[in-house]
């Protein structure tokens, strides 16, 4: 029965300002957006920069390894369960805060240019601000329920933003699909929370952790809890088998894809597992499941990515693939490596999406790479920054992606050689299709119509500025986590050490890999990436190969291009039967069985009345006769039959 006392500290104000500022921005834009016009974009961006400043303040003022709980109110309670509305500030949440507000504000800035001509300008920014608000709740909450509020809230904003151009029903379908797929995961999350409430009587991270530690290693309860939580994660972070919404989500405006479907929201799952790392460490079987799902997703999505021709779809599958890689890291208990990849991935994937947005902007809305080509000459800044992003994701040193990916691959090598092989293969595919994308888009000559060609122009400064900043980050972000072969201080790992300390005690520690072995691994990874880049160069630049039109694709390629028909399979296995069941229930069960029974009772009553009516002959003599006879019978019964 601990009802937390509301305390104040010097971190109180900045902490509550972080979510409040975007919320304020949302209200201003939602209520006065029409009047503000284009100023609304600047307001939305300004509040985010404010939130970023507050996050930086927290980063600088939180003592190393410390954590602080900021309670806003004792939100509600029932029985002996208290749910406070409180924020937890520790290195993990600060990392996420910096990523969300930092990249978020850059993307807001970018959107001012990107959405300039859209009539829903202020509506767009109100949604974006609302999204940031929920995302911040998600990472700041000190219990699972606050996290869940953010969790569902970002799902809602994702719904609103994917279906932003609501006149197009295909976009609305994609939005609806994203929301529903996420809700399937949310059910898992909720059940996981119920189990925690049931066994630990609390949803606070610290109480749950202590409770779980008491239950001990490999306890079935914890395995179930973590498995259910992982179902939630699969929905939100687009893992097999719930990943299909993410590629469809590309229907939204491109900044949305960059912010929600690459940098922040989809990494919520990784954050959640990292946050509950003790629980997951205590459930080795769940970790195995996560490892397998992550590896499979990484590979599966990478293969599909090979054959996509929509510039955003390629990036979407690449996101799914990279998320799979992060989950593989988590599955091996390498939480820091997973988080590290979240950070670097946020930079270069946001960069890639924004670059793709810039390309689409230049092309006047065209997204098919087969109609692009040679754009490097026209939009130089976009090309340069996009190339940096691509190199970073392909894992070429010294760009950011190299360090985080290498760390995961090294862990995988220690953990299981097969997993290492699969992940390396997936990284190789990544390098290939990303360079395929670059070559098809930027090199050789333009394949589109002349009309489009005249239209091509570099994007305004509001759009290129964020590109340049993100490109700079994509180059240097990796240095916060140098591998042991280069430096002994892994800044990122040290920063997060306190969060994962308890897991480290539980998990069997892996032995230090020899330096020579690690050099070999690095060499292999880089070689593989370079080989696939060379292969892509040979195919798309030397031979000027252009992917065939959809109807000419045959055989295996067709299956891959159609994403292994997963959507169609889901449609046949789940959607259609439910629709059929719905009709069946209504027509057969409701109308034929239940209602018929009700009507049958009415009908029988009616018929009995109809039959008894005939006794009313109208002859008084008959009535009286009947009366006398009945009386005699009753008398006889009374006298002779003993009741």
């Amino acid at each position: 029965m601990t009802q937390t006392i509301i305390q104040t500290s010097n971190l109180y104000l900045p902490t509550i300002l972080i979510p409040l500022l975007p919320l304020l921005g949302f209200f201003i834009n939602a209520l006065f957006g029409k009047k503000l016009g284009h100023a609304s974009g600047w307001i939305a961006t300004a509040v985010l920069f404010g939130a970023f400043a507050c996050s930086l303040f927290l980063f600088l003022n939180l003592p190393t390894g410390g954590s602080e709980t900021i309670t806003i109110s004792n939100w509600f309670y029932f029985k002996n369960i208290f749910i406070p509305f409180a924020f937890l500030i520790d290195p993990l949440s600060i990392t996420m805060l910096l990523v969300i507000t930092g990249i978020g504000s850059l993307i807001h800035l970018y959107s001012i240019g990107y959405m300039h001509h859209d009539e829903g300008f202020s509506r767009f920014f109100s949604y974006l601000n609302l999204f940031i608000f929920f995302m911040l709740l998600l990472v700041m909450g000190n219990n699972y329920l606050i996290m869940f509020i953010g969790w569902e809230g970002v799902g809602l904003c994702s719904y609103l933003l994917i279906g932003f151009w609501f006149k197009n029903q295909a976009f609305n379908d994609a939005a609806k699909k994203a929301f529903i797929m996420n809700r399937i995961g949310d059910l898992g999350f909720i059940i996981g929370m119920f189990m925690m409430l049931f066994y630990f009587n609390s949803l606070n991270f610290d109480v749950v952790t202590i409770g779980a530690l008491k239950l001990g290693m490999g306890n079935m309860t914890i395995i179930y809890i973590t498995l259910f939580l992982f179902v939630g994660v699969m929905g939100k972070s687009a893992q097999l088998p719930l990943y299909t919404w993410l590629p469809d989500a590309m229907a939204g405006p491109t900044p949305v894809s960059a912010l929600i479907h690459a940098a922040t929201m989809v990494t919520a799952g990784i954050y959640m597992i990292a946050r509950s790392n003790v629980l997951f460490s205590l459930a080795p079987h769940t970790l195995d499941v996560i490892l397998i799902v992550g590896t499979a997703t990484s590979l599966f999505a990478a293969v599909i990515g090979l054959k996509q021709n929509d510039i955003k779809k390629v990036l979407a599958y690449s996101t799914v693939s990279q998320l799979g890689l992060m989950f593989a890291a988590l599955g091996m208990g390498a939480y820091e490596s997973g988080m590290f990849h979240v950070v670097t991935h946020a930079f270069f994937k946001a960069l890639l999406f924004l670059g793709a947005g810039s390309v689409i902007h230049a092309m006047g809305g065209e997204q098919d790479m087969r109609n692009m080509g040679g754009l490097g000459k026209f939009i130089k800044i976009t090309f340069a920054t996009f190339l940096i992003g691509t190199v970073a994701i392909s894992g070429i040193p010294p760009f950011a992606g190299f360090f985080s990916k290498d760390e995961i691959l090294a862990t995988a090598f220690e953990h299981n050689k097969v997993i290492w092989g699969l992940l390396s293969f997936s990284s190789m595919l990544t390098a290939f299709y990303m360079f395929r994308l670059v070559y098809l888009t930027f090199s050789s000559s333009f394949r589109g119509t002349d009309e489009v060609k005249h239209h091509i122009h570099e994007s305004p400064a509001t759009m290129t500025m964020p590109l340049i900043i993100l490109a700079a980050c994509a180059i240097i972000a990796g240095f916060i986590g140098l591998p042991t072969i280069i430096s002994h201080t892994h800044l990122f790992k040290n920063y997060l050490a306190s969060v994962f300390a308890q897991s480290k005690l539980i998990m069997p520690a892996g032995h230090e890999m020899s330096h020579s072995m690690e050099w070999i691994l690095v060499g292999t990874a880089v070689t593989l990436a370079l080989v696939s880049i060379a292969f892509a160069y040979q195919k798309y630049v030397m031979q000027k190969h252009v992917p065939a039109a959809d109807e000419n694709v045959k055989g295996i390629s067709k299956v891959v291009a159609n994403k292994f028909y997963v959507d169609e399979i889901y449609n046949t296995v789940f959607v259609k039967p439910i629709m059929l069941l719905s009709d069946l229930f209504l027509v057969v069960v409701d109308k034929l069985i239940v209602d018929l029974l009700v009507h049958a009772i009415a009908f029988i009553t009616n018929q009995i009345g109809r039959a008894l009516r005939l006794l009313q002959t109208g002859h008084v003599g008959f009535y009286m006769f009947a009366m006398v006879i009945s009386m005699i019978i009753l008398l006889a019964v009374q006298i002779f039959v003993v009741i």
Binding site: W75, F76, F78, I149, F166, I180, F585, D590, V598
Partner: protein
């Protein structure tokens, strides 16, 4: 005394309104309901002051000595919550009709207010007989409302509704008589019945008498077939009354007249009751997915939602009972909201088929915003009013049986499916050829929807006062009805 005033305001208003004509009818009804609402807040403030509460709120006078029937009205947290819900919704329901023209509107509003009187009566009476009188009285105005102001096929549908619910009530009356003669106190006072339980051998029998009556009213599967037709045929204000408040009579009665009075019977048959409720949740949700009539879609969604509430109540634990009460309030507000939105659409386009609607958001952005808020409220998104309730209900069911909770939890997914599908077809996309003109909201419509939207957020963000209001009575009911 205060309770009596609460009861009398609508009754007097319903008589007075008969003497008015024209526009003044609506204004007077609105005024009366607002007075009632303000008075409710006053009663709430008195109620918070526990010492003063007992003497001011309860009335217990002998009405008939043999059989022993007392005029016993009082207020506890649960009653107050339901009274609050009714009084909150009533002004909205009256206001909803401001831009509609009705024939003989003075009779219509008199019936609405009479209904209000009966509903308050149900929620405040603590004598079984008195309660039964109000319970049946509530049926009469709504019968005439749907019979005279309803849509197509109204006489058949209304007759079915009337006889169906009356048949249920008859079983309940029989149950009460049985209780009266088989308890040694020979009293139907709630306070006596909760202390002096009838022999547990007879409780199973009484359980079914009461359960069927309430199952019809709520309605639970398979006693629900009157409901979709009635909801779509009744005039919108009637549907709002039915779905927003009258349906809560059944749920409230489960808590008031079933659990604490025959705990052993309930404990014995809980598995069947929960199974029915949970099946109902999934069943109605699945049906709602393919519904094309917007009002019927909402009717089936309502069946699913109340099924969940009933399941949580039958789980017989604190969070189930408390969550059920919170959710009753939330559902009342949301369901009135969705039906009002449906009414606005049908009223403007003359069309209730979602396949021949579309693109309304282009023409009426403000309406679209309110509508999506209400839709999100009814799919129980966090920070909306139904989230906490649904969370606690599902947790209650989970504690009873985890599989049942997973089944019932499907409502989280299916609810999103049918609600978003409906919203997409009706509001989004390009304009349908049937929808050429769609005026955005009138002042009274905006006032109603804005109030509902605000309430959705207020109760979603600040659930604590409601939880605290019902906590004592929920604990009491839990203690009485908990059988080891």
């Amino acid at each position: 005394m205060l309770t009596l005033i609460l009861l009398l305001i609508p009754l007097i208003a319903s008589i007075l309104v008969l003497f008015l004509k024209g526009e003044s009818v609506k204004w007077f009804s609105f005024f009366a309901t607002i007075v009632q609402l303000i008075f409710t807040f006053y009663v709430y403030s008195v109620f918070q002051n526990k010492e003063a509460a007992k003497s001011l709120l309860a009335i217990n006078i002998e009405w008939i000595s043999s059989p022993k029937i007392n005029f016993n009205i009082a207020l506890d947290g649960m009653s107050l919550l339901m009274v609050f819900l009714s009084n909150l919704l009533m002004p909205l329901i009256v206001l909803a009709g401001f831009n509609r023209t009705q024939e003989r509107s003075h009779i219509f509003y008199s019936l609405v207010l009479l209904m209000h009187f009966a509903l308050i009566g149900v929620f405040v009476s603590f004598d079984g007989f008195l309660y039964y009188i109000f319970w049946e009285l509530a049926l009469i105005p709504i019968y005439f409302i749907s019979l005279n102001w309803g849509g197509v096929n109204r006489s058949t549908v209304t007759l079915k509704f009337f006889i169906y619910t009356l048949a249920g009530s008859l079983l309940m009356l029989f149950g009460f008589l049985f209780l009266y003669w088989n308890t040694n106190l020979h009293s139907l006072s709630w306070f006596d019945l909760t202390v002096n339980h009838i022999c547990s051998c007879k409780q199973g029998f009484i359980f079914w008498m009461f359960f069927i009556a309430y199952a019809i009213k709520i309605p639970l599967i398979p006693f629900h077939t009157w409901q979709p037709d009635t909801y779509s045929t009744a005039p919108t204000q009637g549907t709002m009354l039915l779905s927003g408040i009258m349906l809560k009579m059944g749920l409230y009665s489960l808590l008031r007249w079933l659990l604490p009075i025959i705990p052993n019977g309930v404990a014995e048959y809980t598995p069947i009751a929960i199974a029915l409720c949970v099946i109902g949740v999934v069943y109605a949700s699945v049906i709602a997915i393919m519904q094309t009539d917007i009002k019927k879609l909402f009717a089936y969604s309502s069946i699913a939602h109340v099924g969940l509430i009933a399941a949580g109540i039958f789980a017989l634990n604190m969070q189930g009972i408390q969550g059920g009460l919170v959710q009753m309030l939330a559902h009342g507000i949301n369901v009135v909201g969705v039906f009002y939105c449906a009414d606005i659409i049908i009223n403007r386009t003359g069309n209730s088929n979602i396949n021949s609607l579309g693109g309304i958001r282009l023409l009426a952005p403000r309406f679209a915003t309110y509508f999506i808020i209400i839709v999100l409220g009814s799919v129980a998104l966090p920070l909306t009013n139904s989230f906490i309730g649904e969370f606690m209900l599902l947790f209650g069911i989970f504690e009873y049986n985890s599989w049942a909770a997973i089944m019932a939890g499907l409502t989280i997914i299916l609810g999103a499916v049918y609600m978003l599908r409906m919203y997409q077809k009706v509001m989004l996309g390009d304009l349908n050829e049937n929808v050429t003109v769609f005026e955005d909201l009138k002042w009274n419509e905006e006032l109603v929807l804005a109030t509902i939207a605000i309430l959705i957020f207020v109760f979603g963000i600040f659930p604590k006062p409601i939880l605290e209001l019902v906590e004592p009575i929920a604990t009491e009911i839990f203690k009485i009805s908990f059988v080891k």
